[in-house]
């Protein structure tokens, strides 16, 4: 631009000089010269303006570039901050609180710890002849704290204590190697899932108390087991070895040489089919076989009052086996659960020993009045109880059950007193479950129980339960 101005000035000078020479050659016309000077001055002015404009643009461009760089730097810093935050999130443990309790999980998901609890507060009332009101009571049926979790991605663990009794009881303490859904290996104290009702999580049982087949099955014991799901979940197998236990009992330590094998096969043949009517059917058989030396268990009604006890001095001493065929069916709001149990044991008193077979069965049907699906894993209300959007009355379910336990008649009178123990208890009951939300449930059961054996009045029991699971 400076060159252009120089050229104009040169032209101006040359023009002026030319004018002078021309003036020497011819009479100068002052007006013409003046006019040309003015024209050139105007041209010079215009050029200066152009130069100034371009200079301004150059400055503006520089400012723009500077501003552009500042914006880019700010954007990049934000980008780096976001990357850093994302990287940090990948290593920051995750704390969560929800329907499944409190949980703490490592960022990579390989470790976690979950804290849960189960509280069941019961009211028990008994009616009718021979049902003394001093049996009526409030009680805490269960008060469990449960720690579960995962270690190194492939190991699960569980520690559960129940504080409801007179002293805390360690219910579960196991670790499970979980390399594949087809094979899991468990060591420690755990539930023996040979019967259907105990296999169901306690919070989901249809009735407040177990039916009689569960009284003949083992509860918890210490040992090792393999378990897995084959054929895409259709076949559930379980096999293990445990310290032997009395019917319905749990083992804390082994009696000498008292070990049992336990197993269960359960099939859901239509699990992966499109047939919605049959999809919820499952059946199988569980059992135990081994030796048992120890005190045998008595039996109680579904109203939780004892109706059979062994004579003092009776011990189990010999082969013990159980067989428990079982079936369930769930379809929409309808649910059915049925099982049969036979338990063989060899009680001894002094030198007298016998082989006894006690038998039990139950059939429980349920219907969810509010339309939710009934499942083996409970009922989830569509509209939890409350007021406001998506709130409602929770889920309501009616339940009916018939169940019976028949003690081997050979138990009398050597091993049990026929004057005080009944040889059979048959119970018919109905109940109502109100699922306020996935964590809270109120249940009420009525059971009428008749007995065979000594003159024992029927039992009419009413149990109401408030259950909170978190």
């Amino acid at each position: 631009m400076r060159t252009k101005i120089g050229a104009v000035l040169t032209a101006f000078t040359v023009s002026a000089a030319t004018g002078t020479v021309a003036a020497q050659d011819a009479a100068p016309n002052e007006d013409a010269i003046q006019s040309r000077i003015q024209a050139l001055e105007q041209e010079l002015h215009n050029l200066k303006q152009t130069v100034n404009t371009q200079q301004t643009r150059t400055n503006e461009n520089a400012q723009f570039e500077e501003l552009d760089q500042k914006v880019r730097v700010l954007e990049r810093k934000q980008e780096l901050a976001n990357e850093e935050a994302a990287a940090k999130a990948r290593t920051t443990p995750i704390l969560s609180v929800g329907e499944k309790g409190f949980s703490l999980q490592s960022a990579d998901g390989a470790f976690n710890l979950r804290l849960r609890s189960l509280v069941q507060a019961d009211t028990r009332l008994y009616f009718g002849e021979g049902n003394a009101s001093d049996s009526d009571t409030f009680l805490i049926r269960r008060a469990r704290i449960e720690l579960t979790g995962k270690l190194f991605e492939k190991f699960d663990y569980r520690l559960m204590e129940d504080f409801a009794g007179s002293s805390p009881t360690l219910l579960d303490a196991w670790i499970k190697w979980n390399p594949d859904p087809r094979f899991q290996f468990v060591v420690g104290k755990s539930k023996l899932p040979v019967d259907l009702e105990r296999e169901q999580s306690r919070e989901y049982n249809l009735a407040t108390e177990f039916g009689y087949p569960t009284s003949l099955a083992p509860n918890r014991s210490i040992g090792v087991a393999a378990r897995g799901l084959l054929l895409g979940g259709i076949l559930d197998y379980y096999i293990g070895g445990f310290n032997s236990t009395a019917d319905g009992g749990s083992s804390v330590t082994a009696a000498s040489g008292s070990f049992s094998g336990a197993g269960r096969l359960f099939v859901q043949p239509f699990l992966n089919s499109g047939n919605s009517t049959l999809k919820g059917i499952g059946f199988g058989v569980g059992g135990t076989y081994g030796e048992f030396e120890g005190a045998p268990s008595g039996y109680s009604t579904v109203g939780q009052r004892p109706f059979f006890s062994w004579n003092p001095g009776v011990v189990d001493d010999g082969t013990q086996w159980r067989l428990l065929p079982q079936i369930y069916y769930f379809n929409g709001p309808f649910g059915l659960l049925a099982e049969y149990a036979v338990s063989s044991q060899q009680p001894r008193i002094g030198a007298t020993q016998a082989t006894l077979e006690n038998r039990a069965w139950q059939a429980t049907a349920s219907w969810v009045l509010t339309g939710e699906d009934a499942t083996f894993n409970g009922v989830k209300p569509k509209h939890p109880f409350g007021f406001g959007e998506n709130r409602g009355w929770g889920a309501w379910q009616v339940v009916a059950r018939a169940t019976e336990l028949d003690v081997d008649n050979d138990a009398f009178p050597t091993f049990a007193n026929p004057a005080s123990s009944a040889s059979k208890a048959t119970s018919y009951g109905g109940g109502l479950n109100w699922y306020l939300n996935p964590m809270t449930r109120i249940s009420a059961d009525y059971n009428w129980t008749t007995f065979a054996g000594p003159a024992r009045p029927d039992e009419n029991s009413f149990i109401m339960r408030f259950q909170f699971r978190f």
Binding site: Q69, F183, F185, G228, I239, G241, F259, G290
Partner: protein, 333 residues
């Protein structure tokens, strides 16, 4: 029932469910930022070499980031079988704090366990609009310099030391060198955590006038990331960068990978690997094995070493990059 019967039955079920696994190896190579492309190609060569030699299958997983961050990750439990980092100090730190690498690790492979070297050069925009020729141009007002954070990046520490070495030679003292690098870092608008991040800042985000770069990274940007958009400026003095490699013995042994991990690093010195190294713009330890055309790309320049100029990495780290060191004193974001 006998316990032996119970265990026997369970073992039988387990054996049916789980047949024995094939002999495969998965190696984790934890490396610094710009080596991605080099190891992608080298891993293919090595897996074939190992398959031919032993019949075993090797899968090499790569992890890249600023060398300091990568070393920290290994110290914190990242299960690297081998580390191929930007400088020896970071491997020393892993050895000291985890005990997973023996103290004499650097003497286990040739050339202080550095199968390749590199240096620091300048990458500028096409036409070099700011007329940058040497280190002095980087401290001028209005010049924007891109370099990563020496706290997290090995390459950034090489950059810092190269600038310091130049200034000390040019102006005669450590005090003057400190003034020089203080001015230089005033011209740094953003610190990435690693060299590849700085490459993105300069090349893709269009920030800065000059990028202090690994030589290999500068060539990569010049020829592949932004062809025709940049120029390399070779300063009058730079530093000889020796990125070392070593096996993380205890981790590799625990994972059953010790033998293959050792072979993985030893094979870096093979003719085949040295050729790949030069191809990816690293200066090979054995240039005679490289393609002469690749070697021609490397400019000749005066290079100082950390040992001669700074008394070794331990001292350099403590003086300049440890908490409260020179960098903390001069850099105020």
């Amino acid at each position: 029932m006998k316990l032996t019967t119970i265990f026997g039955t369970i073992a039988t079920v387990a054996a049916i469910a789980f047949p024995a696994a094939a002999k495969d190896h998965t190696l984790l190579n934890v490396s610094y930022d710009p080596t991605r492309e080099l190891y992608v190609e080298y891993n293919k060569v090595f897996t074939k070499y190992w398959k031919d030699k032993t019949g075993d299958t090797v899968i090499v997983q790569q992890s890249h980031g600023g060398a300091g961050k990568q070393a920290r990750a290994v110290i914190d439990g990242l299960e690297a079988d081998v580390v191929t980092l930007a400088l020896a100090y970071d491997i020393d730190a892993i050895a000291e704090r985890t005990g997973r690498i023996p103290a004499n690790w650097q003497s286990r492979l040739p050339n202080n366990s550095a199968p390749y070297t590199s240096t620091i050069v300048f990458l500028v925009r096409k036409g070099n609009p700011k007329g940058i020729k040497d280190w002095d141009d980087l401290v001028k007002p209005g010049v924007s310099v891109i370099t990563p954070n020496p706290k997290t990046s090995g390459g950034a520490r090489w950059n810092f030391l190269a600038a310091w070495a130049y200034a000390k030679k040019q102006y005669g003292s450590d005090e003057k060198a400190k003034e020089f690098v203080t001015k230089l870092y005033k011209n740094v608008p953003v610190l990435d955590s690693g060299a590849r991040g700085s490459t993105i800042t300069f090349v893709q985000r269009g920030i800065g006038d000059v990028f202090l770069s690994w030589e290999n990274e500068a060539f990569l940007a010049l020829n592949e990331l932004g062809a025709g958009k940049f120029e390399i400026v070779v300063p009058s003095l730079s530093i000889l960068a020796e990125p070392p490699v070593t096996v993380v013995d205890k981790t590799a042994k625990k994972k059953g990978n010790l033998e293959v991990a050792q072979a993985y690093l030893e094979h870096l010195y093979s003719s085949e690997a040295q050729r790949i190294i030069a191809k990816h713009y690293y200066r090979p330890f054995k240039p005679e094995d490289a393609d002469p055309a690749d070697l021609k790309r490397f400019p000749k320049l005066e290079l100082v070493t950390v040992d001669e100029e700074f008394g070794g990495w331990q001292k350099a780290q403590k003086t300049h990059f440890a908490d409260g060191g020179t960098f903390d004193q001069i850099y105020k974001p």
